[in-house]
Subunit: 87 residues, 5 copies
Amino acid sequence: MITAKLIDNVWATRKASSLNGLKLMLAEVIGGSTEGQWLIVVDTISAGVGDRVIITTGSSARRMLGNDDIPVDAVVVGIIDDDCKLG
Amino acid sequence: MITAKLIDNVWATRKASSLNGLKLMLAEVIGGSTEGQWLIVVDTISAGVGDRVIITTGSSARRMLGNDDIPVDAVVVGIIDDDCKLG
Amino acid sequence: MITAKLIDNVWATRKASSLNGLKLMLAEVIGGSTEGQWLIVVDTISAGVGDRVIITTGSSARRMLGNDDIPVDAVVVGIIDDDCKLG
Amino acid sequence: MITAKLIDNVWATRKASSLNGLKLMLAEVIGGSTEGQWLIVVDTISAGVGDRVIITTGSSARRMLGNDDIPVDAVVVGIIDDDCKLG
Amino acid sequence: MITAKLIDNVWATRKASSLNGLKLMLAEVIGGSTEGQWLIVVDTISAGVGDRVIITTGSSARRMLGNDDIPVDAVVVGIIDDDCKLG
């Protein structure tokens, strides 16, 4: 999984109907040599801007949604504890 | 998912027959450390050149096409609202 | 999908038996920030050295072969028209 | 698979319920041109901080958990022997 | 698929039981802009250190093992002929 910081909400009025009701956020990879890479992720665990989160990508991301037919490849699976230092 | 800008249409007369009728576009990743990466994507939601879009990749992309047998690994799943600032 | 130029044929006498009869080619990514990356791809649509092609990767690539048991992760799915400018 | 060094534990009180009980660790890629990339991985073979490990990613990672519905994309599948020099 | 050179054997006494009996090797990507990237791969076609090989990654790699439950994401699928120049 990837460590990232949520930096913004993303709004897309025109989108796949299967994405309706899903919360989209912009995440920026933190730490390591891929620092700064951007991803758009789906959040289902009430994470917020500023949170450091764990992101699962690929087919595994769909396991978070309980519906294998949604075209999503990155989801927030956890919020890293505030007092957890990394690295 | 990836944030990208659609920068051109792509024409391929000779292609897999299962791609017939699909609209192919060239997308350029925006923002973050992978800025500038190129992808060819399938669009089914009437996006246009200049639009900033959300792209789903990998096996999840096939979920957008309603047919798991099409050899496609990147699709437009949403158009980011014009007034949505990112980052 | 990825935009690449086919730059050579690849010969491998010793290989997985399920690859027998498949044409292997060396492709170089063109355009964008991953320019120059090398991939070995399977071609089933009679592409040739010098052609600019569209490459599908991952599990989606196996959809091009009509057999989900072949260990291949990159295939040519289209040849970009000669008069198609990109970007 | 990827060669990495485990550099820390990761704590996430708020997370997907399917991740409860799984041990999460921070891994840093070692060797080669992607040196320093960070991944969060699941460990089920009692690896510890400082161990050099083999990490499987993507859908294959779920094969390590015996449950295809867990949203995990990176797991430790082996610990490299102490006296094994690499490269 | 990826072009790489096998540079070493990898020994891991403690590993997933499903990996028992599989030969693990360290491979280094050759050619192109990802030159030097390291991967650990499974070899089932008797490749050796120094061989230039074709590596399949992701879910497609499992197709080489005849068992979809093994947590492996990279396998050698061919050995490039000695007299085959690339690029």
